[in-house]
Amino acid sequence: MAGIRLRVERGERRASVGDAEMTACSQTVVVELPFGHLAWSRPTSVRLQRRGTTRVVPIVDLTRLAQLTIYASAFATIIGAVAARRR
């Protein structure tokens, strides 16, 4: 029976959009459990090649970023309140 394994895989997908060549990059985190799997795939960046120039555009998950900001600010508020109470 296999144990718990964690691996990160990267993938690329090429597509032609108009006169540009696009390479879409993604990252997948796979957690292998003895009797199950969990896979989390997310986009990372897009590489655009057009007329000899290459441009890399990172893909930012604004929803996730906003959620993390809310979590962080709430955590900081609680920590600050506890510290103020101890003084």
Partner: protein, 145 residues
């Protein structure tokens, strides 16, 4: 009888391995195609959807083998007379996809337009800040008492 039990255990092990292999195939999912959609022509350009995909699944098996001594007409039967066994299993899985951005290609060039899920952000803010407010109120009451 022992051969029957051995073959039962062997077949159950083979079924376990087959299911485990198929499950690995299902979730060996480092496939950019599930993150990036096919280019779709719209107007004078085309768009590609970009999503975050989470998928998971699990399964379990069980088997039991036993014997039950019984008496019939005063004579004790052999221990194998009422022997039996069985196997069973079950599993489940699911996946969730959330749009992250849209790649738009048109006459103006190619650009990545982020997708913001306002409902999700508002729900997160209400839940988290509700919990923080509750915790602060409790702390204040504790300080007074």
């Amino acid at each position: 009888m022992k051969e029957d039990l051995d073959s039962l255990i062997r077949s159950a092990d083979q079924a376990d391995e087959r299911l485990l292999d198929s499950m690995r195939g299902m979730f060996a999912a480092a496939q950019p195609s599930i993150v990036y959609g096919e280019p779709r022509p719209i107007g004078g350009g085309s768009i590609i959807t970009v999503s975050e995909v989470v998928s998971g699944g699990g399964f379990g098996f069980g088997r039991g083998i036993g014997t039950a001594p019984s008496q019939m007409n005063g004579a004790t039967q052999g221990p194998d007379a009422n022997a039996g066994g069985g196997t069973g299993g079950g599993g489940g899985g699911g996946s969730r996809s959330r749009p992250v951005a849209v790649i738009i290609a048109d006459a103006n060039g190619i650009r990545v337009q982020p997708v913001v899920d306002v409902t999700r952000i508002v729900l997160t803010a209400l839940t988290v800040w509700g919990m923080v407010a509750g915790a602060l109120l409790r702390m204040r009451r504790g300080a007074r008492g």
